[in-house]
Symmetry: C2
Subunit: 316 residues, 2 copies
């Protein structure tokens, strides 16, 4: 194993100079810096993460809490995880995956948290190390999320532009910020176009939205578009419509939200608001590492613009 000392010897400097080249390059003359860089490259030096962690009183580990039930877990967590892993990797951090609140909080430098609901506030407040939340919240926790409001705004604008006469929002029946924002995007856009926003809410299961169409089929005239708060709900709507031999997308449009996996499983494939989940994961990691570097100072909120993906469930 190549250590700092080996590099120092090779470059004819002390190991502190090498350490400084890595951590405080401004304090070293360019001349020495060149020598040290050359030696590091020659020897293919790789810093020892454990030693660095010990000396810094750090662990180089962050814990990722998924507070939702795993079985109901959305496939997009996989992408989130990839993004986080990449972001952490850039700074030689490793990951610990946690699925329970009553978990050892030690041996880590900070937390990324997802699936946090309003009831988790107390728990979040007790956390002693820097934390970043994935998912909009209105309690002041630093977070990264898709710009949910912008997402439904874009979808609604699209549906209006494609001349669907009546728009219906199918929301998720939870009192959470992401849902409020998605509804707000819909409502505001409708009002701007002087159209009446109609909203129905239900739990996030495709069989419920499918049932909803079956129960209310007669209520919806041709030329209606359903803007859904999730791809899961959208899939159910598509199924319900198909069951009544409705023409998609000509007579009825369906817009999903998420754009991870489910949209492509649907038949016909879903138009959807695609969240850049992997990018968000990476940003979560970066935000947390920066927060750690700044000994916990607030990072605010970061909203990432989603992308409209137009597929067979909407007019083109």
């Amino acid at each position: 194993m190549i250590t700092l000392s080996d590099v120092a010897k090779k470059a004819n400097v002390s190991k502190m100079t090498v350490s400084r080249v890595i951590n405080h390059p401004g304090q070293v003359t360019d001349e020495l810096k060149q020598l040290v860089f050359a030696a590091m490259k020659d020897l293919d030096y790789r810093p020892n993460v454990a030693a660095k962690a010990l000396a810094n009183n750090r662990s180089q580990v962050i814990k990722f809490f998924i507070l939702e039930d795993i079985d109901t877990t959305e496939p997009y967590y996989m992408n989130l995880l990839f993004g986080i892993a990449k972001g952490l990797d850039e700074k030689q951090y490793a990951l610990q995956l946690v699925t329970s609140r009553n978990y050892d909080l030690g041996n880590s430098d900070g937390y990324i948290i997802t699936g946090a609901r309003a009831k988790d506030q107390e728990w979040l407040d007790r956390l002693e190390k820097p934390a970043v939340v994935f998912g909009e919240n209105r309690y002041g926790y630093d977070f990264v999320d898709t710009d949910n409001k912008q997402g439904t705004t874009m979808a609604t604008e699209y549906a209006i532009a494609k001349n669907y006469q009546s728009l219906v929002f199918i929301g998720i029946d939870v009192k959470e910020a992401f849902e409020y924002s998605r509804e707000a995007g819909f409502i505001n856009t409708m009002q701007q176009h002087q159209m009446i926003p109609k909203i129905y809410r239900m739990a996030n299961h495709s069989h419920l939205s499918e049932q909803f169409i079956n129960d209310n089929w007669q209520k919806f005239a041709r030329n209606t578009a359903f803007i859904c708060a999730s791809d899961r709900l959208a899939i159910g709507i598509v199924r319900g419509l198909a069951h009544h031999d409705a023409a998609i997308p000509n007579d009825f449009g369906v817009f999903g939200f998420d754009g991870v996996f489910l949209d492509q499983v649907s038949n016909p494939k879903l138009a959807t608001v695609k969240q850049p989940i992997q990018e968000i994961g990476r940003l979560c990691a970066r935000m947390l590492l920066q927060k750690i570097a700044q000994s916990g100072s607030p990072q605010g909120e970061l909203l990432v613009t989603p992308e409209l993906v137009i597929r067979d469930s909407m007019r083109k």
Copy 2:
């Protein structure tokens, strides 16, 4: 932070005794052990992972390589990951997620690898640290996997018991061990019942199996069951059959394989061979940690029995 020394002081012993109680309890008298345990509990001692790693010349990190393309990634990787994370956690190991072969192999104590195909053999051979593979292989790499042969055996037996007269296997068109095993389970069982095994193969996409049914619809008499090598293929078969208004499960049965997510998205829901993916992940982790502890000695193969889940696509 509570350290070994703190515990030692409290228990009136040297820190080496405390260290031994943790790592080599056999070398310490019961009397002292009690004292030390009491002190550890009193002070809520948590070992410092970084220090342990440094002293042992370890990193307490393992890397998880996913060699498949992320976009085509099956949602079951999420469950695999959870299992691995839990298994690692038991020994205070953290995780690094990697998606590229040309990756830094340093700063880790071992590797768990998935998505490895035959062409990856050379790369696998060059690995210098202990590795465990998720997924059957016939090149002698230690692995954990579902008992694929047993899975299709169970499914085939079930279909025969439910009096489907003709059975067709829809396989994945790859030259990989898991596929051979799944086919073998089907073939052997058919032969035992003196039935003719028919096999078709295609790439693992639902639209291909759907197309397959459309192209070959006239070939399949009523009372046929399709045993599929994946839920993805099974979904396409179901769709193709539905397109011809076939009665499922009365006239046609469909059996999937995997039992992670996709089976429940299908409509009707799929009967499937459910792999205990999370458990497999945990076993991968345990196998690797044991291999590390045994300085790399071979661990052999571990096949885990899957579970038949009977749902609406097969007679009950």
